[in-house]
């Protein structure tokens, strides 16, 4: 069975094309769906096995990135989203999509699906948008189904608001222990494993995110969000240094993230 992926679009989402491409490269059937098609009932999330909220500038990032799109989903699609998540189907939010998931309270989330915001993504300490490549390391103990078996990848960040923070430090410790702080920025020159909670300097950490957090998952490991763009490196010739490397060309390493979700659906 080929899993069907709903890739949201509209209102300034702008990475839907490559997100569709990344899922299709690993054998899924991905469809670009305008948010209003779901809100107005022309389509329903229950027709899909995976939900992706791509990156972009929904509503121009005004009033805080992901905020207005988060509200559209929170107020317009509440029950569809709850049903989707309760049914144990995987959700990914990338960059702006991650911001949406955090602001609508699905990430890091809670067991009861309260959709109450507990963390946020705020302006990078440098104060502006930046596009550069980072090295990411994955917590091997994370329950995240999207990142199984992945140790390190590189990928670009392209954001102005990627600093993960919370106003409740106990929660942060709790997420750390439960493996929900899935992905961290690390120094590419360091040896694996090297995840540290000490904030790394710019540009290793592009935003001075707390504990170098680049992405988190919910308690179940099904909902996953991250600031860097794995879909932007779906092919080897899209990396930042490929002309210096002697490589066999093909799929880029972060494509494993999408494959994991497709494997999860096909094997469950």
């Amino acid at each position: 069975m080929q899993p069907k992926v709903a890739v949201l679009s509209g209102f300034g989402i702008n990475c839907e094309t490559e997100t569709v491409a990344a899922f299709e490269m690993v054998g899924a059937v991905a469809e670009k769906i305008h948010v209003n098609k779901l809100v107005k009932g022309h389509d329903n999330l229950s027709n899909y096995q995976i939900l992706a909220i791509p990156g972009g500038f929904s509503f121009g990032d005004h009033l805080g990135s992901g905020r207005l799109m988060g509200n559209r989903l929170r107020f317009g699609l509440r029950s569809q989203v709850r049903d989707f998540v309760s049914a144990g189907k995987p959700v990914i939010g990338i960059c702006n999509g991650f911001q949406v998931l955090v602001k609508m309270g699905l990430l890091p989330g809670d067991k009861n699906l309260n959709m109450k915001q507990t963390a946020s993504l705020t302006l990078n300490d440098i104060g502006h948008y930046v596009n550069r490549w980072v090295t990411l390391e994955f917590d091997p103990n994370s329950p995240c189904i999207w990142t199984k078996g992945i140790k390190r990848i590189s990928a670009p960040v392209r954001h102005g608001e990627g600093k993960f923070v919370t106003d409740n430090k106990d929660l942060m410790d709790f997420w750390e222990k439960s493996g929900q702080l899935t992905v961290r920025y690390v120094d590419p020159k360091s040896e694996y494993p090297s995840i540290s909670t000490e904030t790394l300097p710019y540009p290793i950490s592009p935003n001075q995110s707390w504990r170098n957090i680049a992405g988190v998952c919910d308690h179940s490991g099904l909902i996953f969000g991250l600031m860097p763009h794995p879909e932007a490196y779906h092919s080897t010739w899209l990396s930042s240094t490929w002309t210096r490397e002697n490589i066999a060309h093909g799929r880029g390493e972060p494509i494993k993230i999408f494959r994991n979700a497709v494997d999860y659906i096909t094997s469950n």
């Binding site: 990475c15 972009g56 121009g60 915001q117 302006l123 106003d167 899209l238």
Partner: protein, 1009 residues
């Protein structure tokens, strides 16, 4: 404070919490220090939302954290001032808000957000403010000085609380920027049966930018008995135009829209050869003709010159198109607004190509005054650095928020751009070769009877007279209504919708509403069916009361005009609704032979298509070429270390220095196609020559986008300038391995006014520069088999400030869009491995005239810039380029980098930056083809047609054999050391440490933080 429910204030600031900084405040603090040397201790920013309209208190309270403030990181208040909470009180507070009628994108987004939460709200308006609180202001700094660096009086208002106000908590408070009521004025008629002086007065007073001959042509039209009769049947005054008609003609005939100078008859006299040449339209002679001739040799040209962008067949499934625009005048008045409007505007040219294309890459090239300019800035102009910041922010916002990667660009500095900065915004688009209904997507197919829709934004009084204004010089009185702020999200929604409409086969014809507004967009498309009829009463407005001519010519942004078959009406409107895009049917296309405009019942305009588009009389101009004289360059006598220091200084020149700080805040990778990015090398901080994109996911066919711009050479000869620009664009494309069998060009001229007059006593000379530049493009493009497929000219880049005229140097941006057969073979500029062999390909001659070194030496120690300007040998170059690309195809070349600004020495340093290596170079062999060469010429000369490459030693034999018929010079190897060492006949002539070179190159244009 107003506590009735009709007016509410919300404020938001960053929460004070460990590990959280007020990044907005810190950015302002850092900008004040790096741009103005003002070192304040702390800045905090409060965002304000001022709402007019009825909301219950309960809903207001809920909105604080459901909409305005983030509950985790922000503090939000409703009708309470956050400033009251600060202890100690700030020493200065500045509140900035928009003037009435200026686009407030944040306010619009907030409004949308409010309706999401409370769908039943009555009519609400929101305006936003930014309040800046300061602590620790140095005593010597005047409060006004801080304020004036932070807001633009052209579009913004400010309210200030001084230290005394702050002590008593008297905070700044701007009133809601209600739009002033506009009283609708009936269309008027203008009597043209007047003296010639009076005709000119009518044109000048109405900002029509029409000359006497043109006014007389209009006068003659209304004397025509047949026309008078037709007008009577259409209920219009028979013998005189309405204001709307005159405006419509002025827009259509403006230099901006109809390129009168490029279409003029020119008598060109060359004082060197004593020859007189008569030219009937530079455009037809030097741009169109070569392309038409080349079209007999290539089969991939699909649509050239007549549409909003030029289109080529990239492969059997996809077409690519490209267009660049300039937005110079608006960017001088409001750098942010001008630039964002420029970028989203050129994106619309792509959307409006054929039946609609999707923009996939932006390229931006700016020309500014020197960032470190310390002379006096005339009133009405901004310091170049502020223009730089504003333009950069505008293009960043416009490109990033639209989801279009900015893949390539350049920034050029020269004092003469202080009067008018040049802001070139270019976009590449993609469209299916054919639609599913079988139509070619690059061909518009309107039919009489199709409905005219206006899609996207509404019409307001903003942007009235942009086209005619840009056809005039800039003065202190330039109208603020010509300034607008783009709204990328409204446009993105429209783009998504229109591309779906195209794919569903709903679009018959589409074009942008840019310069001249509806008068131009409908007027132009009416030519395709032979007529159109629209009703201005059906055009949705931002505010009521606009008069007919204003609706007709307003350039309010984010609007497209689309033609739809009547039977597709419902589908089209439903699609618009789904995307929350406004689409209004405003008329229909006809074959009546005329463009007819009504305003509800009233007749407003009747303009025969023939007269509208072909009635403008051809200009007749004179041009005279007399080579300018320059003092020679004064060369210092330096030892090898001093030469190294000189290279450091050259690398820190703004024209050469790294622009990474600026470029990294553009998204250059969205859509996941950018193969060669703006920066390359080990640390991704070395400069790339051209962008390579692979637009179809998973496929390895690519496209190359490159630019060439060399305004310095105009000081000696605009022919050399144009030739160098074309060569640079092609050379850059060759460096990444472009397929030379498919390269298309885009010429974009920015000139000072070249029409001889009392205001322009050197018009003949400036026109001769234009003639020579055109001849160069003609000559070189033919030899390179590089057809121009679209272009643009902006001919009034002068500013008169305090009675003094500042003209830009004649400038051409030449862009290349080429094919790349296999992106996996693309090459980048960084040296790859220690021990790789370095070659300079192409001949070096003693050509330092108007070089970057010449300008630097002039700035440092006087003297001139005179000397031989780089001469082009196009046949030799293209033959070399072909061999380079075929060597890349065989994977023989490891790195390739253009030799241009600053010559060989700069190129060598840049290739080392990408590999953390050094290089040992011996340049003795360069003298083989040029005995006149001296060391300065060899190291810093800018001879065209040269590319610096490195190869793996194992490929040496094969590479040298492959290149044997060309002038190639094996000049050294990539070394492990941290030095660049250049010898001539084994004697060291330049040494420098890479650390110093890189530091010089990277630090001079750092933007702070």
């Amino acid at each position: 404070m107003n506590h009735n429910n009709m007016e509410n204030y919300f404020e938001v600031s960053t929460k004070e919490m460990e590990g959280l900084t007020d990044a907005r405040g810190n950015s302002i603090k850092s900008m004040l220090y790096s741009d103005h040397g003002i070192d304040v201790h702390t800045v905090r920013v409060i965002l304000g939302y001022h709402i007019v309209g009825y909301i219950t208190d309960e809903n207001s309270e809920r909105a604080v954290y459901d909409l305005f403030a983030d509950p985790i990181i922000e503090r939000g208040t409703h009708n309470e001032r956050i400033l009251d909470e600060y202890s100690p009180a700030p020493e200065l507070v500045i509140q900035i808000g928009f003037k009435p009628g200026v686009t407030d994108n944040l306010g619009q987004a907030a409004l949308d957000g409010l309706y999401t939460i409370f769908p039943d709200l009555e009519e609400i308006q929101i305006s936003t403010t930014k309040t800046l609180a300061f602590w620790g202001i140095p005593k010597e700094i005047k409060v006004e000085k801080i304020a004036e660096t932070l807001y633009n009086p052209m579009i913004e208002r400010v309210s200030i609380s001084s230290i005394d106000d702050c002590r008593i908590k008297k905070w700044p408070k701007l009133e809601f920027p209600h739009r002033p009521n506009i009283k609708y004025t009936q269309p008027t008629t203008i009597n043209l049966e007047v003296s010639d002086e009076e005709l000119i007065r009518i044109s000048d007073n109405g900002l029509l930018a029409l000359n006497l001959e043109e006014m007389q042509a209009i006068q003659a039209h209304f004397r025509d008995k047949k026309i008078q009769k037709l007008r009577t049947t259409h209920n219009l005054p028979p013998k005189m135009p309405t204001d709307a008609e005159l405006e419509c003609l002025a827009q259509t005939w403006s230099e901006h829209c109809s390129h009168k100078i490029f279409a003029a008859k020119i008598e060109h006299y060359d004082t060197e050869t004593k020859k007189i040449t008569n030219i009937n339209s530079l455009f037809k002679t030097n741009i169109v003709k070569p392309t038409n001739d080349i079209s007999n040799e290539v089969d991939w040209l699909l649509s050239v010159f007549h549409d909003n962008s030029g289109v080529i067949e990239w492969n059997k499934d996809w077409s690519l198109c490209i267009k660049a625009e300039t937005h110079n005048s608006p960017s001088a008045l409001d750098p942010f607004g001008g630039a964002i409007t420029g970028i989203v505007g050129v994106n619309r040219d792509i959307i409006g190509t054929g039946l609609g294309a999707r923009p996939i890459a932006n390229t931006d090239v700016f020309c500014f005054g020197p960032p470190d300019f310390d002379g006096s800035i005339p009133d009405g102009l901004f310091h170049p650095f502020r223009v730089f910041r504003g333009v950069h922010a505008g293009v960043r916002s416009g490109g990033n928020e639209s989801g279009i990667p900015t893949v390539n660009g350049a920034i050029i500095f020269d004092e003469r751009y202080i009067g008018k900065p040049l802001v070139y915004c270019g976009t590449v688009g993609i469209m299916p070769r054919k639609l599913s209904d079988g139509r070619d997507s690059h061909v518009k197919t309107p039919e009489s009877g199709d409905l005219v829709y206006m899609v996207g934004g509404r019409v307001g009084s903003d942007g009235i007279h942009g086209a005619t204004f840009s056809s005039l010089e800039l003065t202190e009185e330039s109208p603020s209504s010509a300034v607008q702020i783009g709204d990328p999200i409204t446009q993105k929604k429209m783009l998504d919708m229109l591309i779906e409409a195209r794919d569903a086969g709903l679009i018959q014809v589409i074009t942008d509403n840019g310069a001249g507004g509806l008068s131009s967009s409908v007027g132009e498309m009416a030519e395709l069916t032979g007529g159109a009829e629209i009703d201005l009463g059906r055009v949705p407005l931002k505010q009521s009361g606009l008069s007919s001519w204003e609706i007709l010519v307003s350039e309010s942004q984010e609007r497209m005009t689309v033609g739809i078959r009547p039977e597709d009406k419902v589908n089209f409107e439903n699609l618009a609704k789904l995307h929350e895009v406004e689409a209004s049917e405003i008329g229909k296309f006809t074959d009546s032979g005329a463009f007819i405009v009504k305003h509800n019942q009233e007749s407003v305009a009747y303009l025969p298509i023939e007269f509208l588009h072909y009635g403008c009389p051809q200009m007749k101009l004179k041009s005279e070429w007399r080579p300018p004289k320059h003092l020679p360059i004064k060369f210092p006598d330096l030892n090898h270390e001093e030469m190294g220091n000189m290279l450091c200084r050259l690398l820190s020149r703004p024209n050469i220095a790294s622009k990474e700080w600026w470029v990294r805040s553009y998204d250059h990778e969205v859509i996941a196609q950018t193969v060669v990015k703006p920066f390359c090398g080990k640390n991704s901080d070395a400069p790339s020559d051209a962008a390579v994109i692979a637009p179809i996911a998973g496929k390895t066919q690519g496209a190359v986008i490159s630019n060439g711009i060399m305004p310095r050479y105009s000081d000696i000869d605009a022919y050399a300038m144009a030739a160098a620009s074309v060569d640079e664009a092609v050379r850059n494309a060759v460096c990444v391995g472009v397929d030379l069998d498919m390269i298309a060009g885009l010429d974009n001229f920015c000139w000072p006014d070249p029409v001889q007059s009392s205001k322009t006593p050197d018009g003949k000379y400036k026109l001769s520069q234009l003639v020579r530049a055109n001849q160069a493009i003609d000559d070189i493009c033919r030899i390179y088999r590089l057809p121009c497929i679209s272009g643009k000219d902006s001919m009034k880049n002068d500013a008169v400030i305090d009675g003094k005229k500042i003209s830009v140097p004649p400038t051409i941006l030449f862009s290349v869009l080429g094919n790349h057969k296999d992106v996996r073979k693309a090459v980048t500029s960084d040296f790859k491995n220690i021990g790789d062999i370095i070659y300079l390909l192409g001949e070096t001659h003693q050509e330092l005239g108007a070089s970057e070194l010449a300008f630097m030496l002039r700035d440092e120690q006087g003297g001139g810039i005179g000397g031989t300007v780089p001469h082009i040998d196009a046949e030799r170059n293209i033959s070399l380029y072909k061999s380079i690309v075929s060597a890349m195809d065989k994977s023989l070349i490891s790195s390739a980098h253009d030799c241009s600004d600053g010559g060989l020495a700069v190129s060598l340093a840049e290739c080392c930056f990408g590999s953390d290596s050094g290089a040992i170079i011996e340049i003795e062999s360069l003298w083989e083809n040029c005995e006149d060469l001296d060391e300065y010429g060899a190291l810093f000369g800018e001879s065209l047609g040269r590319i610096l490459v490195s190869i793996n030693p194992k490929n040496k034999l094969e590479f040298e054999e492959h290149m044997q018929k060309h002038s190639i010079y094996r000049i050294g190897i990539v070394s492990k050391s941290n030095d660049l060492e250049i010898l001539k006949s084994k004697k060291s002539i330049l040494t420098a440490s890479l650390d110093n070179l890189k530091q010089s190159w990277k630090s001079s244009l750092n933007g702070g933080n």
